[in-house]
Symmetry: C2
Subunit: 349 residues, 2 copies
């Protein structure tokens, strides 16, 4: 029921997705039963693969998370998340209110590990494919343990979503010799480098590596991640705006723009980020589709949800999360040794 | 002597700059006297406005800051900074080793206020002009006082460099309701909002405002600032790279690109950031020109140095810096009141 468009986008997206997904994939549609029935009336074949779960109410797009928690019970969003907890559905997808989705998911599914909030992932286009970049907003203050958790979750997500067997992982830091980054970043670097958590860790990366594709997964705190994501969106918008102005600034340029139009359109498509992002760190798979998602966006998001549900995604994360206390403890011992011997690097594996 | 090109770029840039600057502007040229004499041999009119200060040695581009401090005395860079301290020159400009320039400037000129390192400024293009964005790298860990210092310095720099009488100032934060930013950011927000420091403070801004031009000056810590700057550079590079690929992907597109070429060139020029950035917070004016600067870049940087030297730039910064302890103290009292009464906003002016 959520998003800027609601059922008129979601229902055709379901039809489109079921056209390509194997027969074993089935849907639960949470929302107003009459609306859903009417929207799919002409497609009894699709209705046969859907279970409609009627909900009297919906979470409004502008509702505050606290309010959504108080009065959310029985809404379509609440019911969808509850179905995950009850094992009745393998993944939940919503284009609704992000804050509410996060709060309700956290309450019903609980976090795995010790994160306060689910981490938000951005999938950034690169010349080679996609970089998984997290956290882009939810966890503003992060200690080293949080950063290592992001590495674990981001790596598992990247494998599940893109099929890369061993995604490479980097930790975002600042560049020059004089600036070696926060203590939290350096500590996470030492833990990841030790190798107790089996990730292909490549060390520090910088801001421009996010769209360069040097590693598959880039980890940072929610403050820097949100700033970087929005900065890049702004920069891309500025560049394309300037380009539009440049290409309409004279007759030759305008004619050139007309000739180049199909190429420019392909270029614009390349820039649009994938429409769905998982809320990572929950005991269950929940994806947020952006509010303005089109039918095609929503249908692609369904594909991602299915890929995640079929992968060993959550089990992998849990397995690595269980290794985390040991990795941190070993590191603490090494750190103490190192402080005494002054040879931190030599002592560590 | 510094930068990727040295005197073959610097000397013609001096010639170009002196062609447009008033007669009262004179240069000290620090470096190898024979090279400089030879480079300007055909222009006795220019030589008459330059004082050559011979230096036996130079700081290498790859020298570590600590090494530069130990063996820097008597190099051209060292002498140029000393001339600032002695009041023999009003501004220093170098295209040399950034880390060394920062370390030597800090040692010789000392910091004003309590910053550890000079703040680095990026001048970001926007549809309306330029946003002054700092710190983009030097001060990784920043408390609220540091952030307020950046606001003071950035505002004075923006006025001096761009002639805006009352630049507007924003504090970089993350967006959604659930994420309210670091405690440091919120604290700096409260101090700036109180109005004891006379800045036109507009409150929080987000990453995409950096290239949008919503405010003239955007303040953040050196970690987020460096990440944002590099991310934006990467995004712009990705966008233009994809564009190039799109425009050479077929005959019509290629023909279109040829027709649009002058417009695209104007577009590319618009994107290149100003070549010089001041090291803010020193007791004196020092500018860093990027190593690959062309003759035109270096000549523009000279203009910026002259503008800064002629403005009341450093005096303004000092004046506002002196207001800072009171502003912080008043805030601390208000904060204590607020904690008791639970009405922080009402108590503050």
């Amino acid at each position: 029921m959520g998003g800027d468009h609601g059922p008129p986008v979601v229902l055709p997206a379901v039809v489109r997705a079921l056209g390509v997904l194997p027969d074993s994939v089935r849907f639960q549609l949470h929302g107003d039963e009459a609306t859903i029935q009417a929207g799919l009336a002409k497609r009894p074949d699709i209705l046969a693969r859907c279970e409609i779960r009627h909900a009297e109410r919906v979470i409004a797009m502008d509702e505050k998370p606290a309010q959504a928690l108080r009065r959310g019970k029985g809404t379509s969003m609440w019911n969808a998340i509850e179905a995950i907890r009850e094992g009745e559905a393998a993944a939940a997808l919503s284009a609704g209110n992000t804050g509410a989705l996060m709060a309700i998911s956290r309450l019903i599914l609980r976090m795995c590990g010790e994160l306060e909030r689910p981490a938000l992932v951005a999938s950034m286009p690169t010349p080679k494919g996609v970089t998984t970049f997290l956290d882009v907003g939810a966890n503003v203050d992060c200690d080293a343990e949080r950063l290592v958790e992001f590495a674990i979750m981001g790596e598992a997500f990247h494998r599940a979503a893109h099929g890369t067997p061993h995604p490479t992982v980097g930790l975002l830091n600042v560049g020059s010799e004089e600036m070696k980054g926060h203590e939290e970043v350096r500590e996470a670097h030492r833990v990841l480098r030790e190798g107790r958590i089996p990730l292909d860790y490549k060390g520090f990366v910088e801001g421009d590596d996010i769209t360069r594709g040097r590693v598959d997964v880039i980890v940072t705190d929610g403050f820097s991640g949100n700033v970087a994501l929005k900065s890049m969106e702004g920069a891309a918008r500025f560049v394309t705006g300037e380009l539009r102005a440049a290409l309409t600034s004279g007759l030759a340029a305008s004619l050139g723009a007309i000739l180049a139009r199909p190429a420019l359109r392909k270029f614009r498509d390349r820039l649009s980020p994938p429409p769905a992002a998982p809320l990572l760190g929950l005991n269950g798979i929940v994806l947020k589709c952006h509010g303005g998602a089109t039918e095609r966006d929503f249908s692609q998001s369904i594909q991602v949800a299915v890929d995640l549900a079929r992968s060993g995604f959550t089990a992998e994360i849990e397995r690595n999360m269980r290794r985390l206390p040991d990795a941190l403890a070993e590191h603490a011992v090494d750190g103490a040794d190192a402080a005494q011997t002054g040879a931190a690097q030599g002592v560590q594996k």
